[in-house]
Symmetry: C2
Amino acid sequence: MIWNNMTSEATPNPVCDDALVGFHKHDHKNCVETALTTAEARCKQEGLRLTPVRRKVLEMLLQEHRALGAYAILDALREEGFGSQPPVAYRALDFLVKNGFVHKIERLNAFVACSHPGADHSPAFMICRKCDAVAEAQSAPAKGILGAAARATGFEIERTVVEAEGLCPSCTEKA
Amino acid sequence: MIWNNMTSEATPNPVCDDALVGFHKHDHKNCVETALTTAEARCKQEGLRLTPVRRKVLEMLLQEHRALGAYAILDALREEGFGSQPPVAYRALDFLVKNGFVHKIERLNAFVACSHPGADHSPAFMICRKCDAVAEAQSAPAKGILGAAARATGFEIERTVVEAEGLCPSCTEKA
DNA sequence: GCTCGCAATGTTATACAATCACACTGAGGG
DNA sequence: CCCTCAGTGTGATTGTATAACATTGCGAGC
């Protein structure tokens, strides 16, 4: 039911290695811990401060393994005794997004933990319109027709949002 | 080919100023009227109802020639004597988006008139992070690496959001 | 004509998303 | 020791979007 990490050949080093996590069991606890440890190491290495709030938000997103809205995150922070006003969540999310630990899904106004942290990548997402599952893949939009258009006109691409909406395998079956 | 319009938020009263557009001069009044006529024709042909509210919203987006937020549109509707509550604007926008007259820019939570109405296309956008100008181009995301990932996992792509963020030529020069 | 059904509109209220402004704290660095 | 500054806590506000329900207007069919 939870179809949260639809990995594929196109996604080489995902946090949760098992394909189609939602369909099969996997050692989720372990995958969360690994990701957290990795994040801590990277922060230490790069002089970033993975403070309690930030760590908690990252942990939650890894744990849930799906896209969460800012206010869902905020609710959880409140229950953990952190500040309960929107800026608390947004500041943590800003940090995590800026440093590549988390991605924002523009289409859902929601956030999801990165599946290939550390890798320098421009992510693409597949979003199921029925169950809201989100899977991360890679993209190379600047190489296609869009890149050609940008070069032709002098537009400098810095970042791209690529989000595909459709039906996940699980929801396709049901239909 | 692609760079149909690069409009700028800095133009409160849009006259298709080619200093700002920079790439493509055109007769804006004429282009608005043509687009409206075309839209009306298409609606008639397909049995769609381009009602006064919907027509007004489309006209406004064509006129402004840039991305507008829902509430900016709502304000304008109010001044024209239409209903002034959010659903009025959102319903009209839903209709226009669903039928391809208008696109939503997810990154900006804003709406822009389609540059190639009628054409069956999956649009891509270039958004200047400095002046919020938006240009529409074509994309073919399902053909690249993302399409491969989708096929590999059984994901059925129905729609794609492709939005590039960066600097438009005009803002690049200034920097 | 009537009324049933249906699409569109109007309206109230509310949920969710994001930012502003300002105060406070606590860990370095001079 | 004091200062700075990043991070955090808090209240308030603005912007975006939808739920729920009442109303209107119009065509299909009796």
